[in-house]
Structure formats: C-alpha cells, structure tokens
C-alpha cells in the first residue's frame, strides 16, 4: 500500500451504495457525485462507450456538442472561471485529445480548474501506434497539474475523485484522465468516495502568523505603499477581505488583467492596470513605492518588464499560495505563503488605519496626464472611423458595468481591460498568461452556460474570431445567448502595432481580407448587424443587448489604431510611453 493511500483512507468521507456498472457508467456516476451537471465535448471511437452511457443520463448531465475540441476546452474554461467549479470536457483519443492541448496549457498558466476526460485505445493496443492512438498523458504532462491513465474500470471512481480534488484545491489547474476503451466497457462494483487529502500533495499552507506580522510591520512603516493584485483574490474568493484591507490601510492598488474585477473599477483606491499596456501611474509608481504588497499574482514579464530595473527600491511583500512562485521572478522581503483570503483576514487586523493622501494623489495626477494624452481620445474620439475604446465605453455604459466581459487576445483585449468599467465582481474572463487567440468565443459560450442569468458579452478581434468561428454552430444549436462583438480592423492589430513601432512598419502578413461576418452569423441562424459609423453605435449596441438570444455585432474600427500607454517588451516599467 502506498503512503498516499495509507494516509488518505483515514480521510475518506461518504460511500454511495455499491452497484455493478460499466466503466463508462462509472465515469458519469462519478461526475454526478462531484456535482457536475454540464459537460462540453466531442465524441469519437475511443470514447464511444462513455457517450453511449451518456444517452441515458441526459436528464442529469447536460452535454454541449462543440464543433471542435478546442472549443470544448475553452468553453469548459469559461464555465470554470465564472462558476468557480471545475469545468468538464470530453474528447476522444488521438486528435480529439491533442486538440485540447491549447486550452489545457491556457488553464495551467491561468490557474483554471478543469477535469478533462479523454478516451484511449484498448489497453492491449497501448504503444502499438493503433488507430487514433496518441500518448496523451505524455504530451499533456508539461501542461497539466496532474494526469492519470486508467486501464481498469475499478480505478475510475478514485481517479475522478482525485482529479476533482486536485483541480480545485490550492492553486487550481487542469487535470486529465485518460481512460482506455476496455476500461470503459468492463463492469465493476461502483462506489464513490470524495477525496480530501493526498499524502504527497500540499495545496494549502497554514498561515504563518509571524510572516503576517512582519508584513504588517513593513506596511505600517511605509510612506509609499503600493498593492499589486492578481487572480488569487478571485480564486480564493477574497474580494471582500481585499476591499477591507485596501480601505483600512488606505493603499493604492493596481491589478493584473486576471485580477481585474477583484475590486470595482471606480473604487477610489483602484488606481488601474499594471504592465505593458497598463496605466501610466501604476507602472511609473512601481519604481517609486517603498513597500510593494503583491497578492495572488506571479510577476509575469508582461507586468514587470525588465526585472533588473523593476522595483529595486521597494521592499516586497509577496502573498501567494504557490510556494514555487515565491522568489521566482522577484525576491520577496517578506513572503506569506498562504491563501489570499486567510492572509488578508489576518493582515487587516494588524495594519494601522491610514490614508496616504498625498501618495494616492500622485496616481491621480498620473491619471490626469494619461487621460489628457491618451484616454479622452480613445473614449470620445473625433476621428472619422470608430475607435475600439469608444466601442468598449458604449458597451460598458449600456451594460452599466454589470456584464461578464469575455475577451480574446490582442488590441481589443487591452482596450477592454482598460476601458470597461467593472461594477460587478468576478466578471472578467480573458486569456492572460498563454495569450490564446481563439479563446473568447467558446469561453464566452461556457460562461453564459455557467451564468445564464447574466449578460455575457464576448469582445473579439477579427483575427481571433476566425480561429474558433465554428462554435457559432454550438451557440446556435443550444441557443446560448451570448452577445458577440467583433472589433474589426481588418488587421492582426497587436502584431501590426509592433511592426509599426519596432519593425519599421513592415506589415508582414498581418493584413486580413475578411469575409462577411454578418452573413456568416446569419447563415448560422444567429441575428447580426454591422456598424461603421459613430451615429449608429449606441443604437446597434442597444439592439444587440436587448435581443433575446445570441447576437453578433460587427464594429468596423480604425485600421491602424494603437494601444497606449506601452512599456516596450524588455524595457523598464519606468519607461512607459504615452505615445
């Protein structure tokens, strides 16, 4: 007996009544035990027994037939991000499973809990280059939090129970269970035990109170403290504790794009976005602050720029659940290796009530400069062509900042992060670390399925839209009421911007000759319209939002618009450019 089993068996909770089922049925019963009611997937040879069993479970398990496995995994991501529960995704062996990989990698770097179940060839064929055989465990190993190959039906409940526990505990992430066809077909006695502990797995460190005290001491002495927050706030559901901490300590706070909507955009101490296309103040002040409090973020290079010139003057407090992130990119003066919620609860009681008025004012001054140089012209442009920023402003106003905003990757994404006024917490879904084009449309679909009562707006560029455009089929089939906004500049805009700024305007393969998006949408049975001028923007956005069911709005924007401010890649945050 392994050490893990030895220790875990003491922890085991409930067991359902035992009955003889097939492995395939066991998979579905296990999902029900975990409270799953939604699956995104695509059938195929090696997963057919599971799909056959699913036919009898349609009352309790709603399956969405996506049009490509990449659509399935991104939908599961969108679902997981909005519900906070693991997204579940099915795919067959070989190409079915390899089509999941982009989404798995995306979920791994963005800490999204997923349970992917893939069919595999019969166990006696493993390693023989059988039809549709790919070593899925091997190819997904670098991008999964954990994976396991099941070759016997009896292993199924334990593998799935562990999968859910691992995916959703500690720093969440994607797990993959690969199940051979013979294991799906075989009969066994089903019983289910939820997993609560694995001897070799340490998801949640106990809070070290002396580290918290050291952090509080630094904060209480600080003259120019500055908070950087990331998705950890959302993942640990610490939004309230975070707000209380920020307000009591009176410290200006800036976000990474995955932390966005952890605190309302208009909160007086929310000073904006960090990083390459972030706000002027937060980047500049990073190199002026005396104490930086980083919470649930990992100092990604898009946030820090050149590390050798990053916050060298500051003492760094790093509150982070994943030990491997501490001292990875930026060395911490005080490391609090803990869950953000627990750490903030303790920290708030220890910090003195303060208002750093003059220091906070310097951020406001920076914002004034940025507003006059950049923001006003983006939100209220006088150009002939529509601008991306104003489209986001109009969507933001008309949804009253209450929508779930799902974005793809590129200029439209940066504009959305910068200009959507989030009033509702946990409402921003985007591909951050991986920067996966094609993420948005299926992720929005999954988010709408996960939050059917909320307005879900997908903002996509013309490039990314065409990467997973096939999911219009899934949206139509299940009438998933997502509102799709294409900001069409007929360019791969972000790449074009770099070509303009750093490659002497050599627009190498970034111009797109696009199809009729409205026509495509209508052919899929999804109502659509197109807007090209300012006078119609408000009315068209209104029409889209009021439409009952899915809707696509193509907004034709300026072809060569740039996102500013910008910290050029590899430069110091202090060298942020406003133009």
């Amino acid at each position: 007996m392994s050490l893990a089993t030895e220790l875990t068996e003491k922890e085991i909770k409930t067991t359902t009544e035992k009955k003889i089922v097939t492995g395939a049925q066991g998979v579905l019963l296990s999902l029900l035990e975990e409270g799953v009611d939604t699956i995104f997937g695509y059938p195929g040879g090696a997963i057919m027994p599971i799909y056959d069993a699913l036919y009898d479970f349609s009352d309790s398990l709603k399956h969405y037939l996506v049009r490509h496995e990449q659509g399935g995994i991104h939908a599961a991501q969108g679902y997981a991000r909005i519900t906070g529960r693991p997204g579940v995704c099915f795919a067959t062996s070989g190409p079915g499973a390899t089509n999941l990989i982009t989404g798995i990698a995306d979920a791994q770097i963005d800490s999204t809990p997923l349970v992917c179940i893939t069919g595999q060839v019969f166990s006696h064929l493993l390693g023989t280059d059988a039809f549709q055989e790919t070593d899925v465990i091997g190819v997904t190993m670098p991008v999964t939090k954990w994976s396991y190959q099941v070759t016997r039906a009896e292993e199924i409940p334990e593998a799935i129970a562990k999968a859910f526990y691992i995916a959703s505990s500690g720093r969440p992430g994607p797990v993959l269970i690969d199940i051979t066809k013979d294991a799906q077909n075989a009969s066994f006695e089903f019983g289910y035990k939820k997993w609560k502990k694995i001897a070799s797995y340490f998801p949640k460190p106990k809070l070290n109170l002396s580290a918290v005290q050291a952090a509080a001491d630094l904060i209480n002495q600080a003259k120019k403290p500055f908070i950087l927050w990331g998705q950890g706030i959302l993942l640990s559901h610490a939004e309230e504790e975070f707000k209380a901490f920020v307000e009591k300590a009176g410290i200006p706070a800036a976000w990474t794009i995955l932390g966005l909507s952890g605190l309302p955009t208009e909160h007086p101490l929310n000073v904006g976005m960090l990083g390459m296309h972030g706000n002027y103040g937060p980047n500049l002040k990073t190199n002026e602050a005396d104490v930086i409090i980083a919470i649930g973020m990992r100092f990604d290079d898009r946030v820090t720029g050149d590390l050798k010139r990053y916050a060298k003057q500051a003492k760094i407090i790093h509150i982070e659940i994943d030990q491997a992130e501490i001292n990875k990119n930026v060395r911490a003066t005080v490391a609090v290796n803990a869950d953000a919620k627990e750490a903030l609860q303790a920290l708030t009681t220890l910090v003195e009530e303060k208002q750093h008025k003059a220091w906070v004012q310097t951020f406001k001054d920076c914002y004034e400069i940025e507003y006059n140089k950049v923001i006003r012209d983006k939100l209220y442009p006088s150009t002939d062509k529509l601008q991306m920023g104003e489209a986001i402003r109009v969507i933001s106003e008309q949804t009253d900042g209450q929508a779930v905003l799902v974005t793809d990757v590129g200029q439209h994404q940066m504009m959305s992060m910068r200009y959507y006024n989030f009033k509702q917490l946990n409402s921003n879904i985007t591909s951050g670390g991986a920067g996966t084009m094609g993420f948005c449309l299926p992720a929005a679909m999954g988010a709408k399925v996960g939050a059917p009562d909320r307005q879900v707006v997908a903002v996509i560029g013309d490039g990314g839209f065409q990467m997973t455009i096939q999911e219009l089929g899934c949206i139509f089939q299940y009438q998933i009421g997502v509102k799709i906004v294409i900001l069409n500049n007929n360019f791969l805009g972000m790449v074009r911007q770099w070509q303009q700024l750093f490659h002497q305007k050599r627009y190498s393969f970034t111009e797109m000759v696009n199809p009729d998006f409205v026509g495509i949408s209508k052919a899929y049975g999804i109502e659509a319209s197109k807007v090209t001028d300012r006078d119609n923007l408000q009315a068209e956005v209104k029409k889209m939002l009021e439409h009952d069911g899915p809707y696509l709005l193509e907004v034709v924007v300026e072809t060569e618009e740039n996102v500013f401010p910008m910290v050029p890649a590899g430069d110091s945050v202090a060298n942020i450019r406003l133009e």
Binding site: S2, L3, M141, P142, A199, K328
Partner: protein
C-alpha cells in the same frame, strides 16, 4: 538544511537534488520536464526505493546556479506525487559512483601488473573468464576516471559508470521532514 543558507552564491556548481516520491507511472517524465523546460542538462539521475518503504528517492545531479536550483526544486516539490524535494551542495553530502571495466585476457601478459593497479586503486576483480576480466570500482568520478586511464593500455573493451548516489551529512531523517511538512499544511 535550508537552501537559504547558500543564498549568496551565484556561480555555477554541482548540486544534488533529492526528490522523495510515490511510485507512479510517468512521474520520472514529469520531473525531468522541469529541467528540460529551462534547458538544463541533468548530469546524472538515479531512482531507488528509500529508507521509507514505498517512498522512492530520486538523486539528481546538475551543474547550475543556486538561484536556478532553488526554483527547480520548488517546481519539483509542487508536483502532486512528490512528497518532498530538497537540494544540497556537494560538500553537504557523501557520494559515490560505481564503475565497471572489461579488459581482454589476451592483453594481460603480466597478471601482477593488473593486480597491483587494482589493489592500489582500491578496486576489485568481479569476474575472471578465460577471455576477459571485469574490474569494479566505487568512488568519485575522478577516481574511477583515474583507474580508467591506468587500465587503458590494456585495452578496455567496455566501460560503464553509474549515476551518483548520495547521502546527506545532516542527521534529520525523512520521516521527521515529512511530519513537519504535513504540519505546515492544512
């Protein structure tokens, strides 16, 4: 031993990484990926059951900067099936390698010459066959290499050296580490 003790060192040197793990299919791959990702070459790797039944010990030798090894070890430690990972500079461990040399009988005209080399090198003769002899030596790489040079004139038919195995000098045992670690997590 805490790795922060060496936190000031920034030159490349040999480090011994230990990972204590469950015995799981594919785990070796999962651990090695962490090195490949960072384009780090592993000098040697040895896996065997440890002093605790069912717990496997990986002994991995790399040449690297302290800062890098520190990050690698944390990324190994966070793998689900890894119980504990740690690292040590060479001087904090006692280590050995095993080497085997196959020499053709035909080249040995003067048996006492070979005997002397074996004796002086603290090696031993493992097998004597009408066609060849096999000599075995444990020691540090320089020592097994030295013997290689001495035997070279006789014509070495085959030579093999194992990965390094190592034991730490400090007295704290694995169970204590594991108990402390378990207590640090909820």
């Amino acid at each position: 031993m805490d790795y922060n003790e060496f936190a000031s060192e920034s030159e490349e040197k040999n480090y011994t990484i230990f990972a204590f793990t469950e015995n799981k299919v594919g785990l070796l791959n999962r651990i090695i990926i962490i090195f490949t990702r960072r384009h780090i070459n592993i000098e040697s790797i040895t896996v065997s059951e440890s002093e605790v039944r069912g717990v496997y010990r990986y002994t991995i030798i790399i040449r690297s900067k302290l800062e890098t090894v520190e990050k690698l070890v944390k990324q190994i430690a966070k793998q689900v099936d890894v119980l504990r990972a740690s690292f040590y500079p060479e001087e904090a461990t006692v280590f050995q390698e095993l080497a085997m040399y196959k020499i053709p009988m035909s080249s040995i005209v003067n048996a006492s010459e070979v005997e002397k080399i074996v004796r002086d090198s603290h090696a031993r003769i493992l097998t004597v066959d009408p066609e060849y002899i096999i000599i075995e030596k444990t020691g540090h790489q320089e020592e097994t290499q030295e013997l290689f040079e001495k035997l070279a004139p006789f014509g070495i038919l085959q030579f093999v050296r194992s990965g390094r195995v190592a034991i730490t000098k400090h007295m704290k045992d694995l169970r204590t580490y594991l108990r402390e670690q378990a207590e640090a997590y909820s």
